[in-house]
């Protein structure tokens, strides 16, 4: 179980990238499946060629960055539908990843990786290991939160929220999308590099279906903790990623086959998307603010919440307010 938590914390890096595109830019980016493996491949080959493992992680970040830029260019300059642009990059990357690795699997046995010190100290799978990976995930989440509050980050948030508006304030939305996709896939590539070192190999198939794990982490985390602020939303993604791995671990423990895990992932995502729409959960929302939908609430500051919410829902202000917008953003 501690291994599942550690894995969840590492995969949270990827989930933060998915959060950036899926929630902030409102762009369902399927590049992830490819760029994750690219990051792992770059790191594995770098390490077997004697490059410092931390340096290898940075190189994986840059490799992911480039993959994101390609998807961004296809979508903005090539005017290709976002889903298709991601799929095209992902498929293309499969061949590139094989070229980088030279074969389908690159083992890192006996190599010095960034994980080696932890392993040699015997702290993997224990509280210290969990603390180390928590630190990594939370620091990256905080960097992302900081970025999203800068002038550039606000412009990126607005690009996903109201493109017409942000253009009218002088922002080139094409550049914002390319930048967002680059950063997102940079994180994903970085995650691939850490995972390769953690499990001791890079494999051509390691990214397949990974977008589902990313989406599941974002959706599960934010369904539970909400996304009232960027900080809450980003930390929710980290927790969501851990929860996802725990659920996978539990399904393995009840006797499901590892090959069943893709189906488990798909069902998890479907549940996380559908369950909040059920009437029982719907009543618990104070407001539902939709893009372009005439607002209904708070005409005057003195009349909170009564316009749409049923009486008695006033106590569900905090996290419940915005937990249920996933269909909209």
């Amino acid at each position: 179980m501690t291994t599942a938590i550690e894995l969840g914390l590492i995969y949270a890096i990827m989930a933060l990238g998915v959060y950036l595109t899926f929630r902030i830019l409102d762009f369902p980016d399927l590049t992830v499946d490819g760029s994750f493996t690219t990051g792992a491949a770059v790191a594995a080959i770098s390490i077997t060629n004697g490059i410092n493992p931390i340096m290898a992680i940075l190189m994986a970040f840059v490799a992911g960055l480039i993959a994101g830029v390609i998807t961004g260019l296809l979508n903005t300059k090539g005017r290709i539908n976002g889903l298709l642009a991601g799929i095209l990059t992902q498929i293309g990357l499969y061949s590139i990843n094989l070229r980088i690795m030279g074969k389908a699997n690159v083992p890192l046995l006996g190599e010095d990786t960034a994980i080696t010190p932890l392993r040699e100290a015997g702290v993997l799978g224990g509280p210290v290991g969990i603390a180390a990976f928590t630190l990594l995930a939370v620091v990256l989440a905080l960097v992302l939160v900081w970025f999203l509050h800068t002038d550039t980050g606000l412009a990126m948030q607005a690009t996903g929220d109201n493109e017409k508006m942000i253009r009218s304030f002088g922002v080139n939305t094409d550049n914002q999308k390319i930048l967002g996709l680059a950063l997102s896939n940079g994180l994903v590539g970085m995650c691939g590099a850490v995972i390769a070192q953690y499990q001791g190999f890079a494999d051509i198939g390691m990214g397949i279906g990974l977008i589902l794990a990313g989406l599941a982490s974002v959706i599960i985390g934010q369904a539970i903790f909400g996304q009232r602020t960027i900080l809450i939303a980003a930390l929710a993604v980290v927790v969501g990623s851990v929860l996802y791995r725990v659920v996978i671990q539990l399904s393995l423990e009840v006797g499901l086959n590892p090959n069943d895990m893709k189906l488990v992932s798909a069902i998890l995502v479907i549940l996380a998307l559908v369950v909040p729409q059920l009437p029982f959960f719907k009543r618990r929302r104070r407001t539902r603010v939709r893009k372009g939908e005439p607002d209904a609430v708070l005409e005057t500051p003195g009349a909170p919440a009564l316009a749409t919410g049923a009486p008695g829902t006033g106590s569900f202000t905090g996290a419940a307010t915005t937990t249920t917008e996933q269909g909209d953003r």
């Binding site: 970025f147 509050h149 800068t150 002038d151 550039t152 980050g153 606000l154 412009a155 948030q157 607005a158 929220d161 109201n162 017409k164 508006m165 942000i166 253009r167 009218s168 304030f169 002088g170 922002v171 080139n172 939305t173 407001t287 603010v289 939709r290 893009k291 372009g292 939908e293 005439p294 607002d295 609430v297 708070l298 005409e299 500051p301 917008e325 953003r329």
Partner: protein, 263 residues
């Protein structure tokens, strides 16, 4: 400040749906001019606005803002000089961002956006002061998401965001049309106030002739892609909606007569 010279625009050129939206429009706005634009549907009012903003590019002619030819600049490049308020109250603000974040975005208009913190303490107090001028109490709700505001509040905020960083040109595209009469009056009042205070060069499209007469120092009427009437402040003083309709019928009748003569 703003010069549109011999601008023509045809939509769907060369097809059966070909529509000549603008036919050689010339318009010059001096600094501080507040021009209202009226005309029937399809007269070309919005096309003029979209050509100034860079949403559309003219087939012929040029657009000059403050002596600079901006004809080939895209909308986001022109945004450094142009503030806009759209007809849709939802269009001018980002609903999932807070009031202060929206203000911070507007504050960077025409300046590079880097990695400085978007909302700082000093900016926050400046935003609160600006919001207080709206007298809607929004200065006390800086951290509220804009999506929680009413249409009128959002449009008032859009107006503030479009103007407080002093654009060279302010474009208002029927920005009160989607509001109820009371809110429309509020936004109209705020518009007059801010344009007067800042001396903004303004082009306002409206369907409301009464509003067009009441607001601004100049009125132009468009019909079939041309400016058919251009009234100065003195000329429009004392005129009524009925007078305008009369003028319109007269000119429209004349153009029809010309056409019949030519046939």
């Amino acid at each position: 400040m703003l010069t549109i010279s011999s601008v023509s625009k045809t939509f769907f050129a060369g097809t059966v749906n070909e529509r000549r939206a603008l036919r050689g429009v010339d318009l010059h706005l001096a600094e501080g001019d507040f021009v209202t634009v009226i005309g029937s549907n399809g007269a070309g009012k919005s096309t003029v606005l979209n050509i100034v903003s860079g949403d559309l590019f003219p087939d012929e002619g040029t657009v000059t803002i403050d002596g600079r030819d901006v004809t080939k600049l895209q909308d986001h490049q022109r945004a450094a000089f142009v503030g806009r308020v759209f007809q849709d109250p939802m269009a001018g603000t980002a609903p999932h961002l807070t009031i202060e974040e929206n203000m911070a975005i507007a504050d960077r208009r025409g300046r590079p956006r880097r990695l400085a913190t978007g909302v700082t303490r000093s900016k926050r107090s400046r935003f609160a002061d600006e919001l207080a001028t709206l007298e809607l109490g929004l200065e006390n709700r800086l951290k509220a998401k804009v999506g929680l505001l009413s249409g009128g509040q959002r449009q008032a905020l859009s107006l503030l965001m479009a103007t407080f960083s002093d654009p060279k040109i302010l474009l208002l595209d029927e920005h009160t049309a989607a509001l109820d009469p009371q809110r429309a009056d509020l936004v109209t009042r705020l518009t007059r106030q801010v344009v007067e205070d800042k001396g903004l060069t303004t082009l306002m499209v409206t369907h409301n002739m009464e509003q067009a007469l009441r607001v601004g120092n100049r009125l132009i009427m468009m019909h079939e892609g041309q400016i058919i009437l251009d009234l100065t402040e003195e000329e429009k003083r004392g005129r009524t909606v009925k007078d305008l309709l009369g003028e319109f019928e007269k000119i429209k009748g004349a153009t029809i007569d010309d056409k019949t003569l030519l046939q």
